[in-house]
């Protein structure tokens, strides 16, 4: 049953994600966090962060890891297969038999129509992460500061996100106990 749910979750993501990888991130969130509650938003955020920091397509990395985390190696295979196989079959059939399909104006129009929906989903998820960040040890001040600084670094200076994410992860790991946030946490757990 679990494997079937994994398959269904990622089948829906694969078949609804128009516009390449990024457009399906909110859909994965919807299925994995909201519908099946396999993990909380924090863990999802970690997976997304690391997925963004590593090379290769983002969907299959997320699908594969979440499948593995929920259902072992079989879950991993189910999730990846559900993500990629249906659309590859469509692709091969359409390219070998119905090549004019993609040039039909209604197909072009339909695909364009989804773009604002994806924007809304991504925008909502963005806001979720800002709110979560505010609620964490960072609070409003540090959240806004970090958002502005990383916006400048990523968009202004064009630094690759992978470098920034790895730097922050490494910083948090090395600084660990001496950080203000960590101290607070350690006190709480002590």
């Amino acid at each position: 049953m679990k494997q079937w749910h994994i398959f269904l979750a990622f089948f829906r993501v694969g078949i609804l994600g128009y516009g390449g990888g990024p457009s399906s991130i909110p859909l994965v969130h919807k299925e994995v966090v909201e519908r099946y509650k396999w993990m909380d938003s924090d863990e999802f955020g970690d997976i997304l962060a690391l997925g963004n920091a590593l090379p290769g397509p983002i969907n299959t990395k997320m699908a594969g890891y979440i499948g593995y985390r929920v259902g072992g190696y079989l879950g991993m295979i189910c999730a990846v297969a559900a993500t990629i196989v249906p659309t590859i079959i469509l692709m091969v059939i359409l390219l070998t038999s119905l090549n004019a399909f993609k040039d039909k104006p209604w197909v072009q129009g339909a695909v364009k129509g989804v773009v604002p929906v994806v924007a809304v989903m991504l925008g909502t998820l963005t806001w979720d992460f800002v709110k979560k960040s505010k609620k964490s040890n960072l609070g409003w001040k540090w959240t806004i500061l970090l958002v502005i600084v990383s916006l400048i670094i990523l968009q202004g200076f064009g630094l690759h996100p992978a470098i920034l994410i790895f730097a922050l992860l490494l910083g948090a790991l090395l600084k660990g106990g001496s950080g203000k946030a960590a101290k607070k946490k350690e006190k709480e757990s002590a």
Partner: protein, 176 residues
Amino acid sequence: MIYLHIFLALFIPGILGYGGGPSSIPLIEAEVVDRYHWMTVQEFSEVLAMGNALPGPIATKMAGYIGYSQGGVLGAIVAEFATVAPSLILMIALLSLLMKHKESPRVKNMTTVVRPVIAVLLGVMTYDFIFQAYHDFGIWQMLFIGVVSFILMEKVKVHPAYVIAGALVYGGFFLA
């Protein structure tokens, strides 16, 4: 030999393409068109256009078709494996290590610190999609679809599947 070439042609874009599927498209083109001459630039852009007209991740759709056209079903499987496996193995190894120590304050710190960056990355993607919609069909259609889908998904709590299906139909009729 052809399978080894298929593997190499997609392994390299998979391992070098940072930033998800779309960023690896030029790398796939370099291998498939320039190095192995499996297709012309024209054919490649046709395949890409078809890929963009269909749902699902773009890199794996490209890989699947290229693998299939060069080596049949087995070629498609080899191509997908080369695209997906290397980065997935890395991902599972790193995350498993993290999750093992998830109670450690250092690892918790990592989650906290990285969250605003994720918000920024998602925010930038949001902007890209808004800009693309604005570019494709102007501000009024964009606002109309955006506001209606926001109300449906966030206020009425309709599942995105129906909203996406609705947007496809609307686009097919009114944005064609």
